[in-house]
Amino acid sequence: MDKGYIENGFIVDVSNAHKTSEIIYELSRILDLPDAQSKKVCLKLGSVDLSVPELTSIKALVESMNSEIEFVSTSSNVTIKSAGEMDIEVSVLENKVPLPEFNANQDKVNKELEKALDKIFGDENSEIKTFPAESTLTELKKEVPQEYEFEENIENDDINTEIEDLNSESDELKGETEITEETSDVKTEEKAEEIFEKEIDDEELIKHLRETEKLPTLYIQRTLRSGQSITSDGNIVIIGDANPGSEIIARGDITVWGILGGIAHAGSEGNSYARIRALKMNAIQLRIADVFARRPDSINIPYIQKTDTFVPEVASVRKKQIIIQKLH
């Protein structure tokens, strides 16, 4: 009887071994793993000739590790004979698990993959084309007032002088929120349309967005923790979260495959076409070139619940303001 797989067991492939000692060494190493305890073992032995005593010692080893030999697979007649004398089943290994069939048209797959990647990485080009103009607009309208408050140009002297004037501090704060309200309701509704219409035709913009493609990319596969700061002359991609208190500064784009909870500064050398992307945007502050936005006090929560239904978000600069769009 041929067996392709074993229930509650696994296959140990030692077909490359030429000596019994090699088989024993490999077996003892594998069976020592915690997951390998109390399981059935199939030995794939290859062409090596094993006598009855040799096979006995291998069997004893397997049994001493709380496992048992289910069957062996071998191409050697000597081993088959030895196994027969010891009542060990000999079988041929065949992979009977059906392979998934790929019937799909390769072109179509590629296209879909590209589209999906574009969505994830927010390729502006395809995003604009695939979005119905109307829904994008409502998106904009919704996003702007809710998500972030805006401040222009941190380095700007206006604000510096405002801050300097300690006596009128409360007034300044009021001014700040007023700006937000103004931008949120009336203005964006009309202007968003205008801006968007313009951008669709604007090949210049697409060219600008492609600028960051030329930069090198720093690729980080871990969680960025509080106090850690990453600065790069190119783009930064983080697979993991950027926790509150962390800082990411990049000359190009910033992409966080996780929750962005710290400070992110894209286009640090002044490229206002740089983007910040994250699976969940919870940044304390977002900075693109010299434009600056901070998390509104109403949702000023340092840590947010992790779920499996994050909608990727992208932050960009439009009309000297940072806006955040959800990528559906």
Binding site: L166, S170, E172, S226, S229, I284, R294
Partner: protein, 271 residues
């Protein structure tokens, strides 16, 4: 204007230095004083979080020291109280980014514009502590009624006494649990004062509201009902020079006592 520079320190971590700083600062500011809080806990800053100002920090004390911005640019104003400012610590740097001289200089400059400069000191007695103390002339030593905290407070007081610039230090006893003291399971206030032989400036009862207030980024002094908030307000008044009696933390026991308390509370309100 020449402000008072008060360092809030403890030696041991987790006894409530930052909470004390945020609450006393807020209380003093709501009394109409101009207050600036300086977080010197570089690399482990928390004061901004307690005040809910994390999202407003653009420049930090390190930016000031390294002359990337002016001192006044780095001052973050409180959301509610215009009298209250915060000079935040840098999160991505360590204690060596600032020297004692530089902190002294910053405190001197702040003295001109503020009544109170509250310096939040990091735990430990290393460079961070030395920096925080450098510009101060007064100190508040925060401790809890635990042997380890009292021992560390004793060590800190020793260090403070050795500093010429520190003219006075006061003791603030935090996280006091009257019922535990009563059952002899906790050192009493008198015990701690006796061991440390230092003048007491406040007794703060343990209050679960502190946890919620910390998470919300809202100091507990803003909560009129909280006993701990009341205690912190009293500390602020004492710092400002008022003579305020210590709160009676003993919860009255029995029905009669509760009724009595209820009526005395009513009387208080009528006044």
């Amino acid at each position: 204007m020449s402000g008072r520079v008060i360092v809030i320190t403890s030696g041991k971590g987790g006894v409530g230095k930052t909470t004390t700083n945020a609450n006393i600062g807020t209380a003093l500011a709501s009394m109409g004083k101009k207050v600036v809080m300086v977080d010197t806990d570089l690399g482990l800053r928390n004061l901004d979080l307690l005040l809910g100002l994390e999202n407003r920090i653009v420049y930090t004390i390190v930016d000031v020291v390294e002359e990337r911005c002016k001192l006044k640019q780095a001052l973050v104003k409180d959301k509610k109280n215009p009298n209250l400012c915060l000079l935040a610590a840098a999160q991505t740097r360590d204690k060596t980014a600032v020297t004692e001289e530089q902190l002294k200089d910053i405190c001197e400059k702040l003295k001109k514009d503020f009544d109170f400069i509250l310096v939040d000191c990091p735990a430990g007695i290393e460079q961070g502590f030395q920096n925080a103390v450098a510009g101060a002339s007064e100190a508040i030593v925060v401790t809890t009624p635990e042997m380890s905290a009292v021992r560390d407070a004793d060590r800190i007081i020793g260090l403070l006494e050795a500093k010429e610039e520190i003219t006075s230090y006061k003791l603030l006893l935090n996280r006091v649990r009257p019922n535990l003291i009563k059952s002899n399971d906790m050192m009493s206030v008198d015990d701690v004062v006796e061991i440390l032989s230092a003048e007491l400036i406040g007794i703060i009862p343990e209050d679960t509201g502190i946890i919620t207030s910390t998470n919300k980024g809202e100091p507990i002094v803003n909560d009129e009902k909280s006993l701990a908030g009341q205690a912190y307000r009293n500390v602020a008044r004492r710092i400002a020079g008022e003579d305020v009696p210590f709160l009676d933390l003993e919860e009255p026991k029995g029905v009669l006592a509760k009724v009595k308390k209820f009526f005395s509370g009513l009387k208080g309100k009528e006044k």
